[in-house]
């Protein structure tokens, strides 16, 4: 594997254990998703790989070489899109992308060629000569992505690249992420967008309070849930208690909803049960559909009682 992280632990000076024995490996050509609640330690992990933070213990290797010992090499081997906005006010997207490409050591004419292609691919043409100080948050983030993609390192670290980006351009962005991997990069991508991650990543890990609580392909993780279907119940606001699931699978409350895991062969039974609840007045409406990665996520990270704000956020696919 190109990027190899072993037993990575980071304890901040404040005593916060932000990463707690994380082991991950990402290969060439692979898009790896990193999911997890706010404060789970995703940015901390990324910042250690790109050499901004020093691990408390554990190792980070790229192509077998020790990145903890040589942060200068880490910066050359990784290209990086930070979670914070890039400092490019005063520059145009064109200038910013060209500068980054050249700073990464690619010849100017080649950088210009790639920049044109990226600006086209991300549909940023209308803004390419605008001062970044006047750009919208989403456009600025796309420019930041283009800066990380114009002369990619062998490892590409993207910390929430899809934030603030509109749904159409998010698709364009995901396509470019795939292109990076197709050209041989190992891509690690942090996102809260579980639905898009399910479609777009090869493998993913879910982080919870600094630990990896699940890792695998989207299909593999869904398989582990044991439920091929998901019944979503919208509770009546006056309903006093949450109905108990007859299926023996996960039933996770999220706000005024309950997500109930349902085996494939119990679809009819599930609909009948939901109908009866609706009839009894404890449920306002329900939908039955295929289980998604989101269900896995919620089942693992816990329901509304555990961490209401975070789970709500994860559920809001368009949340910034």
């Amino acid at each position: 594997m190109l990027l190899q992280i072993e037993e990575l632990t980071k304890v901040y000076r404040t005593g916060v254990r932000a990463n707690d024995g994380i082991s991950l490996a990402i290969g060439e050509g692979e898009v790896f998703g990193l999911l997890g609640h706010n404060g789970a330690g995703k940015t901390t992990l990324v910042n250690q790989v790109v050499g901004l933070l020093k691990p408390t213990s554990g190792s980070i290797r790229i192509d077998g070489r020790d990145m903890v010992a040589d942060p200068g090499l880490a910066r050359r081997l990784c290209s990086f899109q930070a979670q914070a906005q890039v400092p490019i006010d005063g520059l145009t997207p064109r200038q910013a992308i060209d500068l980054l490409g050249q700073l990464r050591g690619t010849a100017r004419t080649e950088v210009e060629r790639r920049r044109e292609r990226l600006i086209d691919a991300l549909d940023l043409g209308a803004w390419q000569d605008e001062d970044a100080a006047r750009l919208s948050g989403g456009v600025k983030r796309l420019v930041a992505f283009a800066m990380a993609a114009v002369a990619p390192g062998r490892v590409v670290m993207l910390d929430e690249p899809t934030n603030d980006v509109d749904p159409v351009r998010r698709r364009l962005l995901w396509r470019q992420v795939r292109t990076l991997a197709d050209h041989g990069a190992a891509v690690l991508l942090v996102t809260h967008n579980v639905i898009e991650a399910e479609r777009s990543v090869d493998r993913l890990a879910i982080l919870d309070e600094g630990r990896v609580i699940a890792e695998g392909t989207p299909a593999g993780l869904k398989g582990r849930l044991g439920a091929a279907l998901r019944l979503e119940l919208v509770l009546d606001p006056d309903a006093s208690e949450i109905p108990a699931s007859p299926f023996g699978l996960s039933a996770v409350p999220v706000g005024n909803r309950v997500m109930v895991g349902v085996p494939m062969d119990a679809a009819g039974q599930a609909v009948a049960w939901a109908e009866s609840l609706k009839h009894a007045g404890s449920v306002e409406e329900f939908t039955l559909g295929p289980a998604t990665l989101e269900d896995v996520y919620v089942a693992l990270v816990g329901g509304a009682e555990a961490r209401p704000a975070q789970v709500e956020e994860v559920f809001d696919a368009t949340a910034a």
């Binding site: 901004l52 942060p71 200068g72 914070a84 005063g90 050249q102 700073l103 001062d131």
Partner: protein, 244 residues
């Protein structure tokens, strides 16, 4: 080669980032200088020849100190707090190239204010200054020391503390630093403090080269500046290279 190429690209980047800010900065510095050369004569209606020269040469010195020790640390502190400094630190360039490039751009912001300050002073008092050719290295030295020390303050202190300290520096520089008056006006213990701080040396080097006929040019001042410059650069470089 890699160092030079990175330096050139980073100067471009940092200059572009500050280009909207440069005219404002120059306007503020000109106002500073105007305030000093127009304001002091109001406070002290009868000024002797030495005082006039002190005020005229003190204005550019104050202008350099206020950019280097006040505006700069506030800006860098802000960049640190919002995370943009971390982004710049993640670029695959030698830290030395980054630091020297940023200092270059800050120097370029300081210098026009100095020229304007000298012109404003000479105009207000009708002075014919016999500026020494040494003024170029002298002003560069003062500007570099001020920017390095300012950078070091922002690098080692948390942002909130930087804000507080720089505000204290403003008062200290305007009221209690021998830039527009001679150090012998200060109580002995205060004079002793100033003899090791860089501000007095900045004033001495500035006035000694802008008005060499009026003031001597103590070599010790250059030495003081060199020490502070080295110290400021070293501390900044170490802070820049440190991983949290």
């Amino acid at each position: 080669m890699q160092l030079l190429r990175s330096y050139r690209l980073l100067v471009t980047w940092q200059a572009l980032r500050k280009k909207n800010y440069l005219p404002l900065m120059m306007a503020v510095q000109t106002l500073f200088s105007l305030g000093i050369v127009l304001g002091y004569p109001l406070l002290f209606p009868t000024l002797d020849r030495t005082s006039i020269y002190l005020i005229a040469t003190g204005a550019p010195a104050i202008s350099m100190v206020s950019v280097g020790l006040v505006a700069l640390p506030q800006t860098i502190g802000e960049q640190k707090a919002e995370g943009s400094l971390a982004y710049m630190r993640s670029l695959p360039v030698p830290r030395l190239a980054y630091l020297v490039a940023d200092l270059t751009v800050w120097m370029a912001i300081v210098i026009p204010g100095v020229v304007l300050g000298v012109l404003v002073g000479a105009w207000r008092f009708g002075l014919e200054l016999q500026v020494s050719p040494l003024v170029v290295p002298a002003v560069l030295m003062v500007a570099l020391t001020a920017t390095c020390v300012g950078y070091a303050i922002a690098s080692i202190l948390p942002y909130m503390l930087t804000v507080v300290i720089t505000q204290a520096i403003v008062v200290f520089v305007f009221m209690f630093s021998p830039l527009t008056f001679l150090p012998d006006k200060l109580p002995a213990w205060f004079e002793a403090i100033h003899s090791v701080l860089p501000i007095q040396a900045m004033g001495e080097v500035t006035r000694g080269t802008i008005a060499p006929n009026e003031f001597g040019l103590p070599l010790g001042a250059f030495l003081t500046l060199a020490v502070w410059c080295f110290l400021g650069f070293g501390v900044t470089y170490a802070a820049m290279s440190r991983r949290g």
